[in-house]
């Protein structure tokens, strides 16, 4: 059984008990435990079920590379799936559940899959779920969805908060092991601004567990010293519980800080995403131990050798009483020695190397541990728990020589440097034959803005093995990094380290070497996704020879652990099957993040009310208090209509239209863009920007203008007012202010930079109110001030003055067809002016109206709306706007494009009005069908609706649409099929349904 030892555990505080629950069962751990160490201390070896076969699963590792010990943590607002128990710090009240089991962890129905495993080989889903096609939707897809994924998706809203932090530094060091600390000491001494990240809560990495002695000090003491020195350096900032998650172009890196995962309920954000710009990056990310491929290597109790000693040394937890160590390198002997020293039984060390190990092996033998060289494990005995191993000759086919009872197997297949961060932005790898590993190729690093490599690796991440090599490499690489950012290294004297003399490791990709199919189909490569040696071999046989294809076909290295343990072994199997070597097969692509990070951290502060900027006009508050039914228009919120009492949206809209046409309406038009264009060349410039002539507009007058892109397509429209000899004010659409201002500046800066023109976007300086309807003039005259009579301020004129004591600019323009003034006042006065209009307008029947009434009234008048009548493929000529296109001007943006063959074709769809025969409303987006069918057997189209409304003024459906040769077909009837199978017939008419002579607006 696994249990807490009576002594030991450098990271725990036995005096502080911690309560937690697992699958509803109350358990106790101690401060400093991880969820995994606490479960093991409670003899809870079984922690989950694997993805495909629902095999029983326990920990394999003690760190972030863990594929198996995944849990659902918390509940409701703090629920999180797929949390790795090995990196979950225990806290009081922690609630964990195992994943992928039904009905219970101990008895799982899905485990039947393991009995069927020979019917569920690599690519099973692809092969099985193809035919018959109709089965997909109702049978296959629900089945796959049900079995997909390990954890449950959270359903409740996340109660925690998150944030970002932008930091800049000379040097970012990722990894707080001895290599990272050494590099930080070097760079700090050289005066660099250094940020150092460590993903766990503890500094020093593996060195303290491995019993390293540096400069005569135990590793723990050396680490404490290093931290004290770094703390004294104001230019070095160290952060624990912060993972270097990704490295991107130009020294951009992401850090993932877990602030309160270990202490939930504390104030402040749960995670912080560090967005760092570093001049240079050192990855001191260490290395990961590799499993060995032997039959039954997934049975709970089979763990990495490093993990077995971590649990004993760090947390005082033994995984079992009898541990068999199996290895191809010397490092695993440390586990045997540590376990023996802790009073545990190590019946045998199985060393696959015929020549055995070096000085550590001698020490193990001296401690009385039996060592078998040239041997391997034929198979592991046991189901939910290891009960023993069969030993065989490594060179053979797996004939059992002896069975040894044990409850733990500690395996080591060698070590691989963590190259992820090096590789994220293009760092290349080379194959190291001696240690059978891919390691960073220092001359092919990721390239920064200056064309030089901006990432350096240090320590085990470079491929260094012993403590002395690790420190020497860290020192050397830090010196290079200091030079890379223009500093002067002050290299301290090299550390003195007592090093065990190690024998060379020997790659073992299959144990035993000649294992039968039966053994290979029980030898796991990927514990999380249930990929076995036999699966990768099958994929290769079926032609999935590229490593990227084999990954996707077999699922090797997919999902949350991204193959941290499985990749290298899988590559070796693939290489052998393809008859080539490992470097020729290559690796799959390393992509950030290094391990999963929370969605909340990515979103940062952007949630709830501040998910997106919400733009508000000066009158927003009034709208909000007076029944506004909001509509998003870009980032703005505009009232769609104002709801009164119990009325429906439709009733409110109809009321607003009727009231505006019959009495007086107010529209908050503040969102319309306003751009000042001034200078001696402003007229010439605007003649290029607009299709019509603006240079000859008289001061004091307004003109409706169209803007096109160089492609000829209509992009914006609005009324332009000439302010003085050199100055124009251009109105844009609500969403268009920034875009059009940018468009103007682009042409001024990049094409006509010698023209003397300045622009300014003054949209937000003004609140603008459209005062609309037969009583519009009356209310303005009542408020008093400037002369707003038809004689002084005729249609399409503007004037500055005061109204009701407010400084304003009044434009006589109309988008509704009624008598209308748009009055601009300084934004800070907007609300007061709005209130004054409401008060003064009461006797004239004033009512504010929203965007829908605006839309209906403009459609009744046949006015186009950018985004309705236009979609980026429509030219002004399509909309019958030829009157607004100057024939006198030699050039304007879009003119040349509008002369292209397709643009002048007779066959274009052009704007017309559509009057339904039965008075109904044509559905939004409906298409008009023509004669015959196209190549796909679909009915041919001859047009589409662009705007369609119920007109309260005319009490019938009205619409505009683009119809093939439309204006030449007045009086013809076209048919619009509806989604429900019915159809609407409409007569082609003029798009102006209301007051075609313009008598109402020009009074």
């Amino acid at each position: 059984m696994s249990t807490r030892l009576a002594t030991g555990g450098r990271l725990i505080d036995r005096s502080k008990p911690v309560s937690f629950s697992f699958n509803g069962k109350k358990l106790k751990g101690v401060a400093g435990d991880t969820l995994s160490s606490a479960l093991l201390a409670n003899d809870q070896m079984l922690m989950g079920r694997s993805f495909k076969y629902h095999r029983p699963r326990s920990v394999v590792t003690s760190d972030g590379s863990e594929p198996n010990a995944l849990f659902n943590l918390g509940r409701e607002g703090t629920f999180e799936p797929n949390a790795r128990g090995t990196v979950t710090e225990l806290f009081d009240g922690l609630e964990a559940e195992s994943q992928n089991h039904f009905p219970s962890l101990e008895f799982d129905v899905g485990a039947i899959n393991t009995k069927l495993s020979r019917f569920l080989p690599a690519g099973f889903y692809y092969k099985m779920f193809i035919h018959p096609r109709p089965f997909w939707k109702h049978i296959y897809e629900p089945f796959i969805r049900k079995s997909a994924g390990l954890g449950k998706a959270p359903k409740a809203r996340d109660v925690d908060t998150y944030e970002h932090f932008y930091a800049f530094c000379d040097l970012l060091i990722v990894g707080g092991g001895i290599a990272g600390l050494e590099a930080a000491l070097e760079a700090g001494a050289a005066g660099l601004d250094v940020v150092l990240f460590e993903q766990t809560a503890h500094w020093g990495g593996r060195a303290p567990v491995d019993g390293a002695v540096i400069d005569g000090k135990q590793a723990d003491a050396w680490v404490a010293d290093a931290l004290t020195q770094l703390d004294a350096m104001p230019n070095v900032k160290c952060r624990a519980r912060t993972m270097g998650a990704g490295v991107y172009d130009h020294g951009y890196a992401i850090g993932y800080e877990r602030l309160s995962d270990h202490a939930p309920g504390e104030d402040g954000p749960r995670h912080r995403l560090w967005r760092i710009r570093a001049k240079h990056i050192v990855t001191a990310t260490g290395s990961i131990e590799r499993p060995l491929s032997f039959a039954g290597n997934d049975v709970p109790g089979v763990v990495l050798a490093s993990a077995a000693r971590d649990y004993v040394v760090n947390w005082g937890v033994s995984l079992g009483d009898r541990t068999v160590v199996v290895t191809n390198n010397d490092d695993a002997y440390r586990t045997a020695i540590a376990l023996k020293e802790a009073g545990l039984n190590v019946p045998v060390i199985i060393d696959a190397r015929a020549g055995g190990g070096g000085s550590l092996a001698e020490r193990a033998v001296a401690m009385g541990i039996r060592v078998e060289n040239g041997k391997g494990i034929a198979k592991v005995k046991g189901g939910k728990r290891v009960t023993g191993v069969e030993i065989c000759a490594q060179a053979g086919e797996g004939a059992a020589l002896e069975e040894i009872a044990c409850d733990v197997v500690a395996m080591s297949g060698g070590w691989s440097p963590v190259v992820h961060l090096w590789s994220h932005c293009g760092g290349k790898l080379s194959w190291d034959e001696t240690h059978a590993m891919f390691k960073p190729d220092p001359v092919r690093g990721p390239i920064g803005a200056d064309g030089k490599a901006f990432v350096t690796t240090a320590g085990a991440a470079s491929g260094a093995m012993g403590t002395g090599d690790v420190l020497a490499d860290a020192q050397a690489q830090a010196a290079l990094a200091v030079k890379a950012v223009g500093g002067k290294p002050k290299t301290a004297k090299a550390a003195v380290v007592e090093e065990a003399e190690a024998a060379a490791m020997e790659p073992v990709w299959m144990m035993p070497q000649g294992a039968s199919y039966k053994l290979r189909s029980k030898a796991w490569l990927d514990f999380q996704n249930d990929v076995k040696v036999s699966d990768v071999q099958l994929a290769a046989q079926e032609g999935f020879e590229s490593v990227e294809h084999a990954k996707r076909y077999t699922t090797l290295g997919m999902a949350t652990d991204q193959g941290k343990l499985s990749n290298i072994n899988g590559l070796a199997v693939l290489a052998k099957e393809l008859g080539t070597d490992i470097p020729s097969v290559g690796t799959t692509t390393f992509r950030p993040p290094y391990t999963p990070i929370s969605m909340g951290a990515i979103a940062g502060e952007a949630r709830g009310d501040i998910f997106q900027p919400l733009r508000k006009t000066p009158m927003h508050g009034w709208h909000d208090e007076n029944g506004a039914h909001w509509e998003p228009v870009g980032h703005w919120r505009r009232p769609y209509c104002f709801l009164r009492d119990e009325e429906s949206v439709e009733e409110a809209v109809n009321r607003e239209v009727k009231n505006t046409r019959q009495a007086l309406g107010l529209l908050d038009a503040s969102t319309l863009g306003k751009v000042i264009v001034t200078g001696p060349d402003a007229g010439k410039f605007l003649d290029m920007m607009y299709t019509n002539m603006m240079s000859n507009l008289k001061v004091g007058r307004c003109r409706y203008g169209l803007m096109c892109s160089e492609n000829g397509f209509l992009s914006d429209d609005g009324v332009v007012a000439r302010i003085d000899e050199d100055t124009w004010l251009c109105h844009t659409t609500t969403g268009g202010a920034d875009r059009i201002h940018g468009h103007m500046e682009e042409w001024l800066q990049t094409e006509w930079w010698d023209w003397k023109v300045y622009t300014a976007n003054v949209t937000e300086q003004y609140a603008q109110v459209a005062v609309v309807g037969p009583n519009a003039r009356k209310v303005l005259e009542k408020l008093g001030g400037m002369d707003v009579s038809a004689e002084t301020l005729p249609f399409m004129a503007w004037a500055d003055g005061t109204i009701g004591g407010f400084d304003c600019r009044a434009y006589r323009i109309s988008f509704s067809g009624e008598l209308s003034y748009e009055i601009a006042v300084p934004a800070a006065q907007g609300r007061a002016f709005w209130d004054a209009l409401l008060e003064a307008g009461a006797e004239f029947g004033v009512m504010p109206y929203g965007t829908e009434a605006l839309h209906i009234m403009r459609a009744e008048k046949g006015f186009i709306m950018i985004g309705d009548e236009t979609d980026g493929t429509v030219i002004p000529q399509d909309l019958g706007l030829n009157w607004a296109i100057s024939k006198k001007k030699e050039d304007f943006l879009g003119k040349r494009a509008q002369e292209r063959m397709h643009m002048v074709s007779e066959d274009r769809w052009k704007l017309v009005g559509l009057e339904t025969l039965d008075g109904s409303v044509i559905p939004d987006g409906a298409y008009a069908v023509g004669e015959g069918v196209n190549a796909n057997g679909q009915r041919n189209m001859q047009g589409r609706v662009t705007s369609t409304y119920y007109s309260p003024t005319l009490d019938r459906g009205i619409a505009m649409g683009l119809i093939h040769k439309g204006p030449d077909r007045m009086g013809e009837t076209v048919t619009f099929p509806k989604v429900d199978g019915g159809e609407v017939k409409a007569k082609i008419v003029s798009p102006i349904f209301y007051d075609p002579e313009g008598e109402k607006q020009n009074v």
Partner: protein, 109 residues
């Protein structure tokens, strides 16, 4: 996530502060131009693996446009320069030649 130095406000700008503007040094063809010239102006674009010249706008900064010379394969930035020129300055071209001997872009080299 590039960093480009805005020559107009002399700041190193994060990519999130910038807006890309496509290929640099397009020659505008207006009314009266041939279909071929106009098509080239509107649609013909370089797609190099290597040296490229682009337009960028210091969108949430000084608002000015500038040019950048960048290697599309490595993201190495050879330099940024004024938007008010019709071709890259000689000095910059020399820098590029030193780093990428034999480079070609349109008819520049």
């Amino acid at each position: 996530m590039l960093i480009l130095h805005c020559p107009c406000c002399n700041e190193d700008k994060d990519e999130t502060e910038l807006a890309p503007g496509g290929e640099a040094h397009l020659k505008r063809f207006g009314p009266g131009s041939s279909d071929e010239d106009f098509e080239g102006y509107l649609f013909g674009r370089e797609n190099p693996k290597g040296v490229h010249f682009e337009r960028w706008r210091c969108a949430s900064g000084c608002g000015k446009w500038f040019h950048a010379a960048r290697c599309t394969a490595t993201n190495e930035v050879f330099g940024t320069y004024s938007a008010q020129v019709t071709e890259p300055p000689k000095k910059l071209r020399d820098v590029i030649t030193e780093k990428r001997p034999g480079w070609r872009w349109r008819d520049l080299s």
